[in-house]
């Protein structure tokens, strides 16, 4: 009812919330995609375990089982000495003659480990590598520690930045909604006075404003989602033709349904918080 009566201030509230949530959503979308991208790159990171030459088949099986049991490991591929030789020949056909005459393959057998999709911490990977190195049947373990550590550091920094930027933008949203509701309070001061005069409780008086704040926040969130979707499709369409990031464009994803719902819910929550903040400041009562 009051939303319809005070169309202008309501519309301003919805639009400002939408823009604030769009800024927040843009950052969230960027974070979501970078996180996905890093996750994909990380799954390609390999740890290579070289068993000792004199390892017994039973010992090798035991080692494989022990590695597969680790939650940080997604899959394991055994490359036998012969497989390694064949790989070499395939990769360097011109140099294959160098190995002719050798009775057995000079290459060591190896176990290639792929990390799980959920990014394990560097500590977990280091512990795994350390455990493998301590294993008496393992000759050595090779993995790009620096690369993994840098990757994890990037993710950590991104999470911190996301938290700060998210917090600042959420605060901005609350302030904007609080101001909008406060404006509504000023325009409806008379109405509130009347309700108090006839014995309206604080809850009775504030409920419509709380609902209004939630509606403004919810509509703002929905509008922000629409803007983000439009912007995302436009960006994807434009980058598809660019050779530099064109290859990546198929990797970019919009929020899944749960995150979209979360954005709208955030709008509703911010609307309610904004209203409560405004009420507390303006009406000076505790709810």
């Amino acid at each position: 009812m009051s939303l319809r009566t005070h169309r202008a201030s309501t519309l301003i509230g919805i639009i400002t919330t939408a823009f604030t949530l769009t800024s927040f959503g843009t950052f969230l979308l960027l974070y979501y995609n970078v996180h996905n991208l890093i996750g994909r790159v990380q799954t390609n990171i390999q740890i290579i375990v070289y068993p000792k030459d004199a390892i017994e088949p039973q010992q090798l099986q035991g080692l494989q089982k022990a590695i597969q049991a680790d939650p940080a490991i997604d899959s394991l591929t055994l490359i036998s000495k012969n497989d390694a030789l064949q790989d070499f020949k395939k990769q360097f056909p011109d140099e294959a003659y160098l190995l002719e005459g050798l009775g057995t393959s000079p290459f060591p057998a190896s176990l290639v480990l792929k990390l799980a999709d959920s990014i394990p911490s560097t500590d977990a990977i280091s512990n795994l590598v350390h455990r493998l190195q301590q294993n008496p049947v393992v000759e050595r373990v090779r993995y790009n520690r620096d690369w993994i550590e840098r990757l994890t550091l990037v993710i950590t920094y991104m999470e911190i930045v996301a938290l700060i930027v998210g917090g600042v933008l959420a605060l901005a949203s609350i302030t904007i909604i609080a101001n909008t509701v406060q404006l509504a309070f000023y325009t409806r001061q008379e109405e509130i006075e009347i309700l108090r005069l006839i014995g309206g409780t604080n809850l009775f008086i504030s409920m419509p404003y709380l609902i209004e704040g939630a509606v403004i926040g919810g509509l703002g969130g929905t509008m922000a989602l629409g803007l983000l979707r439009g912007g995302f499709e436009f960006f994807k369409h434009k980058t598809h033709t660019l050779s530099v990031i064109g290859g990546f464009s198929s990797v970019f994803e919009f929020f899944p349904f749960s995150l979209s719902l979360l954005l709208i819910s955030t709008g509703i929550l911010l609307g309610c918080i904004g209203t409560l903040t405004s009420m507390y400041g303006w009406m000076r009562f505790r709810l």
């Binding site: 009566t5 009347i194 309700l195 108090r196 005069l197 006839i198 014995g199 309206g200 409780t201 009562f285």
Partner: protein, 222 residues
Amino acid sequence: MIQLFHVTKYYEGCLALSDISLRIEKGECVLLTGPSGAGKTSLLKLIFGSEHPDDGQILVQNRNIARLRRADVPYHRRTMGFVLQDFKLLPHRTVFENVALPLIIRGLSSFESRRKVIEALRAVGMEHKQTTHAGVLSAGEQQRACIARAIVNSPIILLADEPTGNLDPQLTTEIAELFKAINARGTTVMMATHNRQVVEQLKGRIVRLDCGHLLSDQGTCA
């Protein structure tokens, strides 16, 4: 019904009421008179619970208003009606909706509300205007609607702060008659006014205030 014991009230250091003691019985019609700034409105506000006394005690239906918790104030207000000079109606709502507001707040069923609203509107002669928006009513009609809203809950006490302040003599007579009729039905009426016409018409107990002091109290004339 209403008892004030040595009530004192200050506004930002300025004395509004000084050591006021009063006892008002059920069904009385009390007229608070005095010049502007005498403390009439302050006294009504204290009884209504929108202000707290700085000193003294106020008992309304044996309930100490001075110690009333903030959360209990709305429930205290529901036991009484309040009529103001500037009407305080919601202009975008109909007369019916305005009068029904106290009943909505109390959570009455729509059937019961309808019956009570019609009854209250009939009492003030506004039954035919129930679908009209409050904003388009004349001053007299607005005050009638306001009185209907104040009595719709069948309050034991009706407080009025200069209810004829914005009305011409003819309308003043009509409104004063309404208060007289409400009082005749047993409702305690307490009205702040400096309108001689109203004072003469209502023939109530006259309590004179000046600069926050109680000058005279002419006793019960209900």
